[in-house]
Amino acid sequence: MRLHFLERTIDGLHAGLALALDAENSAAAGGLLQQLDARVKVAGLFSLILAAALATRLWVIAAVFALAVALAALSRVSFRVLATRVWIGALAFTGAIALPAVFLTPGVALYRLPALHWPITAQGLTTAGFLLLRVETAATLALLLVFTTPWMHVLKALRVLRVPVLLVAILGMASRYILLLLETAHEMFESRKSRTVGPLAGAARRHVAVASSGVLLSRSLQLSGDVYLAMQARGFRGDVYLLDDFAMTRFDWLALAAFLALAAAAVWADR
């Protein structure tokens, strides 16, 4: 049932995004990363992502990944959340991209598929492994930032770190727009379900799905425009201002030094 799959997907995305946007949930956890200044987290986690992206040895990327998992444990981010929100999704999507490399990369054939006789090469497996591990590592580190920092603090930290105002404004509004879009989609499907008795034929299901997509796009465009106008009406001109002042403590400086040292160590070990 394609429509049921759509509904379940939208419900899941809706619940997941609402959770991700809840600053109160993440800030209340009280783990290691939650205690750090947002700027330290943005700079530190980005330096680790960069180290993983530049690494040319698999074990170096694996070490950065292990570090990310350790940070998640110390910050009380549930492994179940990481697995369902990051690891499985990244594995599925990146795996689909990496799969051809396993067969197409020239090298020593380790195994041949029985019917097709396609070779699985050692070099192909290594290439796919690099891609998968890099993506899993980067996605885990990025999610740690989102799950341990209120979204507005991430945006303010980006501005402090000289990210252009336009990009920060787009990021700020994108989260709210996506939530509105998902809420609208959720309500539309609920409303349709309440007026439908019995299963629809395949063609009718496709018709409903396509028509709903068009209406949804149009409504979400209007809503997103309204949100932007509402922000403008209260004085928003592109910059983000928050009540919380960022103040670096000795612990923050130590954490920043540790992040940079670990990233530098990864680059050094990769020579």
């Binding site: 109160e24 709210r176 309204d226 106008l229 509402a230 009406a233 004085g235 928003f236 001109r237 201002y241």
Partner: protein, 264 residues
Amino acid sequence: MMLFETTDLTYSYDRVTALDRLNLSIAEGSRVALVGANGSGKSTLLRILDGLNFGQSGTVRFRGEPMTEAHFASDEFAFSFRRQVGLVFQNPDVQLFNPTVFDEVAFGPLQLGWSKSEVRDRVGETLDRFGIAHLKDRVPHRLSGGEKKRVALASVLVTDPAVLLLDEPTAALDPRSQSQVIDLLVEWGGGAKSVITATHNLADLEDIADRCLVLDGGLVVAEAAPAEILRNRELLERSNLIHAHRHHHRSGELHSHPHVHPSE
């Protein structure tokens, strides 16, 4: 000098004309209700008066200053205007985009450059005044309709704007929430501020306005005191604000009288 003045103001959405060569003047300190059925151009007019949309032709002036895109491109004019004028949207969902109620109410003052201690004090006072202090750490988009509306009102009134624009402030609220919102507005206005309210809820008209402008088809078709407008049944029926309600009595007699939908 007038607070707002429009001259031959025209605004269209694709092929639908929302405002058609509209001329109106709103005096400083007045409490005006823009009354009209759905699609009469009320919301469009409020957005233009708030400098969010701009007419395709005609002019709008705020205290004698032209309100054009070029003027709003200047930070000086834009901030000065936003400090004086606040708009509460009809749909509170579009107005609530911060992670907590406290942040939501603090958003406006922070954008307008208030000091942080002033923002903290004023937000605390406003939350108490609106009876929403217990919601300060909640996520705004998960509140009930009435609570969302109060947060939306608080998020605008926290800056104490001299001019308040309200788009259907009691729409989609239960009767108790409607009366709470009206009480808050009446108490806040105190007769000294300029309040422009778009509504088709005739029941609240005399509480929120001293003067009514009836909009129909993008034009002002009548202008008078609320009591006078409410007495003019022909005008209200013509403008689709009331309709004849027919029902049978036990005797079988068909009875007909004007009917209003106050909570639409």
